[in-house]
């Protein structure tokens, strides 16, 4: 009798445990509330240029390749593998065969399969991006593809001459203008994603509206109330749908950081960036501080010197100015957001960046040496220097940084630098124009995590935008050679040298700090962090709360 009672009790307890655990798995919530921060200017992958649009496209459209959130290595997504010809000019990608286009009707909630995603869709997408009629901002990314530039500029009009071809339904081949070791990353960029011809031709610019759009990623577009909200729902036909936990993403579009953070504190958002004004409070708060995470963000804040304008046509002056910036103190006392003092142009995480290489020297904060360099340049104690202007775009944040650095130059070098600011669009015209200021501030963020996107595309005398008006033959040679090389070790070595010339030997620019993202996430959200933007929410989980 007693034994029987124990046995029955045990069975009851086990049954309760099993039912509580739902068969052993954890209980998960099906939706998440996030903030996009602003209205995405477009959802068309061929036209996207900004982080918000790219975030949406990352969830709606797959690319041939993607970047690993942790290592930032290029990993397969639509492609299963790829190969490069020995001359580095021909790249062949072999694609998955289980990815399909889907159309979602928000009114009926019906999902309709629209056929497989094929290499023809990629060929169409790439040619569409390069077509001058499309007028895509980022078409220039594909100038590396054979005849890409000629087609985009109208020099040739036959799209078939562009170096992209579907060899069969699941094999796509790119022919390049010149070898590019980083091309696997470019091939997966949003501008090169497959796009659906049928709705594009049917709806024109409106093909990305809910009800019109076809997608192939882990999510589908259910609602897009412009400037207000967007809702994405899980794509049941996605090849990896069984591993996608969150079924609905509710995107708010709250621009004001402090409002978004109030919504987070009020439980209306599950993840939110922390406004800098709230950082100290969040750090001191016993609950919020546990939800806080400082994630790297692949951007660098720098001051450029116009290398043709006196006195910055003299490298000694540039070096002196760069080494009189107390980056550590700036980060700790002015910025206070967990930013990292920069020693290179390309930030940590970028392939080829020596930022984390202990052999790459720091930019020293050495006022004594700087004074000596200035004297060697013919300006002892700053005497004889022409009037110097530091320019930034109108913003309280940039102003505070400029004033801190201005004070340092005055204190340590005895140089009075004038500050000037301009409204953003006027400022861009000034900086990008022929009369770039002696010193100007800009930031640079990665489009793809490779040094080529940094040193060559920004400071190469002819292939880059080169606002600093710098013409260093050795730097140009190194960056070109590194772009063409296929051996990763060789490329790293070349970029090490190029960065050294850029920030040390020639001090053509003064990198200041690496950006970070300070985010709060509710404890019930299990998430990843994408340093390049484009969060992989399909890999997140929300525990029942």
């Amino acid at each position: 009798m007693n034994k029987k009672f124990v046995l029955v009790s045990l069975l009851v307890v086990v049954a309760m445990l099993v039912s509580a655990c739902g068969g052993g798995g954890e209980k998960l919530a099906k939706s998440i509330n996030l903030n996009l921060g602003t209205e995405p200017p477009t959802l068309d992958p061929g036209l996207a240029t900004d982080t918000t649009s790219v975030q949406c496209d990352e969830l709606l459209f797959l690319g041939l390749t993607d970047f690993d959130d942790k290592t930032l290595e290029t990993i397969p997504e639509l492609a299963t593998k790829w190969e490069v010809s020995p001359d580095g000019l021909t790249w062949t990608f072999y694609m998955r065969k289980d990815v399909v286009w889907v159309h979602y009707d928000p009114a009926t909630k019906k999902v309709t399969e629209k056929g497989p995603v094929t290499a023809y869709d990629i060929e169409y997408g790439v040619k569409r991006t390069l077509d001058p009629v499309t007028a895509s901002d980022y078409a220039y990314v594909d100038y590396i593809i054979k005849n890409g530039q000629k087609f985009n500029t109208g020099e040739i009009t036959d799209a078939n001459e562009v170096g992209v071809k579907a060899l069969d339904a699941y094999t796509i081949q790119f022919t390049l203008e010149k070898p590019a070791g980083y091309f696997a990353g470019i091939a997966g960029m949003w501008v090169n994603r497959p796009v659906p011809r049928e709705p594009i031709e049917k709806f024109g610019d409106k093909w990305t509206e809910p009800g019109n759009i076809w997608t192939n990623g882990p999510y589908m577009l259910e609602t897009w109330e412009h400037e207000n909200k967007m809702v994405m729902v899980k794509n049941p036909k996605f090849f990896n749908a069984k591993n996608v936990s969150i079924e609905t993403i509710n995107w708010a579009m709250v621009v004001e950081e402090s409002t978004a953070f109030a919504m987070y504190e009020n439980g209306e958002l599950d993840v939110c960036g922390v406004p800098s004004a709230d950082l100290d409070r969040v750090r001191a708060d016993p609950v919020l501080s546990k939800e806080l995470y400082t994630a790297p963000y692949l951007c660098t804040y720098y001051y450029g010197f116009n290398n043709t304008k006196p006195p910055f046509d003299n490298k000694l002056v540039r070096q002196a100015f760069s080494m009189t910036i107390d980056r550590k103190k700036l980060v700790e006392t002015v910025l206070k957001g967990g930013q990292k003092p920069a020693k290179t142009f390309a930030c940590p995480g970028i392939f080829g960046s020596p930022a984390e290489d202990p052999n790459f020297p720091e930019i020293p904060f050495d006022p004594a040496k700087a004074k000596q360099l200035l004297a060697e340049a013919g300006y002892p104690d700053g005497k004889g220097l022409p009037e110097i202007t530091l320019m930034y775009n109108t913003s309280e944040g940039h102003k505070r940084i400029a004033e801190f650095i201005q004070q340092g130059w005055k204190e340590h070098l005895g140089v009075e630098v004038k500050l000037a600011n301009q409204e953003w669009a006027v400022y861009l015209k000034t900086v990008h124009g022929p009369d770039t200021p002696q010193i100007y501030r800009l930031g640079w963020c990665a489009d793809y995590p490779d040094e080529n996107n940094w040193v060559l595309e920004v400071f190469h005398p002819t292939l880059g935008s080169n606002d600093i008006k710098w013409n260093n033959a050795e730097f140009a040679r190194l960056t070109e050679e590194a772009a063409a090389a296929s051996d990763p070790a060789k490329r790293k070595e070349l970029y090490f040298q190029a960065e050294k010339i850029l920030v040390h030997d020639e001090a053509a620019i003064a990198p200041i700090y690496y950006y970070v993202r300070v985010v709060c996430t509710k404890p019930y959200v299990e998430r990843t962090y994408a340093p390049l933007g484009g969060e992989h929410i399909d890999k997140w989980k929300v525990k029942a709360h």
């Binding site: 001058p132 901002d137 985009n152 400037e227 402090s258 009020n266």
Partner: protein, 306 residues
């Protein structure tokens, strides 16, 4: 009266044409263009974009095309920042929201401002006057950018009575309407007080009193109606300003209204949106002022239009 209204409306045409020419010229004269980016675009790409938006044509032709499209198709052109969206769509999506907010804010302003001004005037130099004008000074001096977050902090975060932000549900409309309306209520309050003080010293009020009318009738029928004329004058531009969108309040409360377009279109050099928002504001202003002028005739029988 009808002839007067028609004439005023017809006058709008040259006024709007003049405004459009000046705005068009100014927006193109400012350095920087819609395709200036932190990442400088290659000239070939900029050329494609300019061709796409018709910016490769001479300025006079761009202007004529713009006006032509408005007259023939009522098409205010495309946004150069949001591909695929037109200015017409921006108006259609966001103007009704701003208008709702503006009307609610105006109601708040009137409901608070007018009684405040009347009480302050009737109880001049008493505690009520000082209290009323104290509230008015507070309303005028505390900017939206402070009042908005303050209201969120008290009523959404601490008390939990209202949601932090958003638009659509009645509960989401309360805080932004107060934040937007309070400043205007202060203006209306002060103006009503000053105007009332002037009117209640007029001879005809003394006559009314002498006739033995009750104080309530004197105030409501005689004093207030006349005191309202200067208030009505400010209500016109105030209505135009509040209903076409207000950047700060819409931003703080994440309201998808028109306000941001007035600011961002200029910073982005989004030419068609700059033109559209300016013309929209001008139309609202002209019509609101016309409405004010018509109201005068009802308020003061001496005013007649021909």
């Amino acid at each position: 009266m009808l002839r007067y209204i028609v004439r005023r409306l017809l006058w709008m045409i040259p006024v709007l044409l003049f405004i459009s020419i000046v705005t068009f010229a100014l927006s193109h004269a400012v350095p920087g263009g819609p395709f200036d980016r932190e990442k400088k675009l290659p000239p070939e790409v900029v050329a494609n974009l300019e061709k796409y938006y018709g910016l490769d044509k001479p300025l006079y032709q761009q202007y004529l095309n713009y006006i032509g499209n408005i007259v023939t198709k009522f098409d205010f052109g495309p946004s150069m920042r949001q591909r695929g969206r037109t200015v017409n769509e921006i108006f259609a999506d966001h103007l009704p929201i701003s208008a709702q907010l503006g009307v609610l804010a105006l109601l708040v302003a009137l409901v608070i401002g007018i009684p405040l001004g009347i009480v302050a005037a009737l109880k001049q130099n008493t505690f009520w006057d000082y209290l009323g004008m104290g509230i008015a000074v507070f309303g005028v001096s505390v900017p939206n950018i402070v009042l908005g977050p303050l209201l969120i902090w008290i009523f959404a975060l601490a008390l939990g009575w209202f949601p932090v932000a958003g638009w659509g549900k009645p509960s989401q409309m309360v805080l932004p309407s107060i934040a937007l309306g309070l400043g205007s209520s202060a203006i209306i309050g002060r103006l009503t007080r000053a105007s009332m003080l002037q009117v209640i010293r007029e001879d005809y009020i003394r006559t009314a009193r002498a006739k033995g009318l009750t104080e309530r009738v004197i105030m409501v029928r005689h004093a207030l109606k006349n005191a309202f004329i200067p208030v009505a004058t400010v209500l016109g531009p105030m209505f135009a300003a509040l209903t076409t969108g207000t950047f700060v309040v819409e931003q703080i409360f994440a309201i998808p209204g028109m306000g941001k377009y007035f600011i961002t279109s200029v910073t982005n050099r989004d030419y068609a949106v700059v033109m559209g928002t300016t013309l929209l504001y001008a139309v609202f202003l002209v019509i609101a002022n016309l409405a004010v002028d018509i109201t005068y005739a009802f308020l003061d029988p001496r005013i007649r239009y021909t």
